[in-house]
Subunit: 216 residues, 2 copies
Amino acid sequence: MPAAAYDIATARPDAAPEFSPRQQVVLQHALKLLVEGGEKALTTAGLARTASCSKESLYKWFGDRDGLLAAVVAYQASQVQFPSESGATADPDTFRAHVTAFVEALLGVLFSESSLALNRLSIGQSNTNSNKLGELLLVRGKHMISSRARTMLETGRRHALLKFDDADDAYQVLYGLAIRDVHIRLLLGETATAEVNNHADQAARAVDRFYRLFGA
Amino acid sequence: MPAAAYDIATARPDAAPEFSPRQQVVLQHALKLLVEGGEKALTTAGLARTASCSKESLYKWFGDRDGLLAAVVAYQASQVQFPSESGATADPDTFRAHVTAFVEALLGVLFSESSLALNRLSIGQSNTNSNKLGELLLVRGKHMISSRARTMLETGRRHALLKFDDADDAYQVLYGLAIRDVHIRLLLGETATAEVNNHADQAARAVDRFYRLFGA
DNA sequence: CCTCACCCGAACCGTACGGTACGGTTCGCC
DNA sequence: GGCGAACCGTACCGTACGGTTCGGGTGAGG
């Protein structure tokens, strides 16, 4: 349950059965260590101590330390869910509200401490060992989000609420308008201002500009 | 000389005298190791070997390993320069060309392998030891760039070429339109597509959209 | 009660790497 | 030529941490 509401309506079937409850608890402890102290702080001995399990179990469950890191990323990504678009989107106002809600959820996820910690971890490892983590985060996180966004935008286009040629291009603009350089600044350790944390306002402004570019 | 042209007209006086020529050569070797293998690949013994210097000298020059990393970031940031705006910007077309050139330079810097490696390094360390590196990269890199961008945009506003209330807000929009989520994807290890590497086209499209939002 | 699977806690091992010390060499300067 | 500063190469030390092994304990099933 990390900084993003769990939405039963959109839960993917592959999310739950991947790890046993006991393992999920351990993974949550691992995430906590990551958030607090970065990758260096997640040692096998330290995790075994804080999670009250044995190193032997860690290695049995996850293979090695890299497997543990991958498990943390995979598990956490599976926990992130977005509000479903729930059908009736022909009405312009409700559709725009849906887009705004999506952007707000995006900000909430990307700027959460757990997401930042996982991104920091994956980025830090991205050019060392075959880059398994970055790939995992991209495919289980960003790609899931972007594909959902594209279908949402295409729904808007189908109902003549938006106008664009390339859905991916339009999504990227929406992303850029919403995130700007805040993500990278937070990743670099800058502390978030109150303005940045006002996700509702930020989302509304981004959607406003997006509509000025792509509104029908 | 890393992926960004050196502009003699805009060289800051504090850039040159910080490190001796010999030290600069060593720092370039260090950057090369970082680009190739990430932070793990930059060991004091490894750097001493590839740069043909002694570990003793490394510790004399940079204090400890963290000091070495900070020196790499500081030195490399000092090497990044942008084309100067060089006065006559009253003409709408040349001003817009200046903005486009700025965006193109921004893309060239941020998407270069050396910049990515340094960002990965700083991000990876950002929640471990007092976050010296991230701060350094922000103040010596991003803030320099953004302040220059703001003055450029305000020049455009003064000449009634642009219209906005907050220069920083406008810059952030320009940044978001240009960078989108490409930066984070590259940081995570995704390989750049040909389209992404066409900085001229990307810059032109971003500036076009920027003008549709902020053009007078 | 026995067995077996699972797991905890702790001790242990090997190694990689940060940091230090030292002998030997080059080079500028008097 | 002699001196000292800077520096290279190498050997060395201490430690932290990944990974393994082992003894013991707990609980379900028979």
